[in-house]
Symmetry: C2
Subunit: 131 residues, 2 copies
DNA sequence: TGTTGACATAGAGTCCACTCTAGCGTTTAT
DNA sequence: ATAAACGCTAGAGTGGACTCTATGTCAACA
């Protein structure tokens, strides 16, 4: 099944502009052209999906480019690509834990915010605060 | 206990530049000055910690400013601040789930990447691919 | 007293990831 | 055959969050 750029955009929830931008940045070096027009295959959509995951989990575009370039070279170097992915996977796990901690902090602060700010703005505004 | 800007930077893992930038952006309107020099109290460090959590979980600076402004007004409006925080909390939960899904996708792709790219670059490079 | 070091401001510059515009070509429907 | 719809490129512009530079003040020390 083949798709135009606008269909690919729909399927991936990216904008047409963004897909072209990614192509320009070397993230889609494998996309075929017919008379200059991009033709997206199912596998290209798969790659765009992975790309979105990587982007959404904070991988910078230049790292994604490195990954795809490794993948395109040959099987030996593709292993490097897998390695990048595995490393990023650990990264994402760390982010998850970090975000969980942030959530806990936010919960804690929600409870203590009123008190925290009453102390800051009610008492300290009126009383002398010796340093 | 009071801190200079450089001590506050150390405690929060922000740079001095960044703290001053946050102040300029109206995120630290409550920080005292002595002869122009910022003096950070324990509570200010608490607020900087929360600020980092919010920033790390994707809250834009203008929203953080709105929050702090609500908190500074009075108790009624402080409730608005709490509401913002609660809303953001749900936001972060959604992000957590999204990131978990991304992690699953990445795991799946790690398994299937070699196959996916062999199909793309080995077969299609040599055979005619009818559209 | 003069140098060092920490503080300050204003504002310019950087980096990233888009996002948009202008201008052009091709296919499709009336 | 002309206009609408969609595709293309090059390149300018945007927005967010820093990051850095130039310049200046002030306090403490040799």
């Amino acid at each position: 099944m083949n798709y135009t750029i606008s269909q690919a955009a729909q399927k991936t929830n990216l904008s047409i502009h963004t897909i072209r931008y990614y192509d320009k940045e070397g993230l889609l070096p494998f996309v075929y052209r017919e008379n200059g027009t991009r033709v997206f295959h199912e596998q290209d959509i798969d790659w765009l999906d992975l790309l979105c995951c990587l982007k959404n989990t904070g991988m910078p575009i230049k790292d994604i480019r490195t990954l795809i370039q490794h993948c395109m070279d040959n099987d030996a170097v593709l292993e490097k690509g897998v390695a990048i992915l595995v490393r990023h996977r650990h990264n994402v796990e760390a982010q998850l834990k970090e975000m969980q901690r942030s959530l806990d902090t936010i919960d804690y602060k929600i409870k203590h915010l009123p008190q925290m700010f009453r102390e800051k703005f009610s008492s300290e505004a009126s009383e002398s605060h010796n340093e």
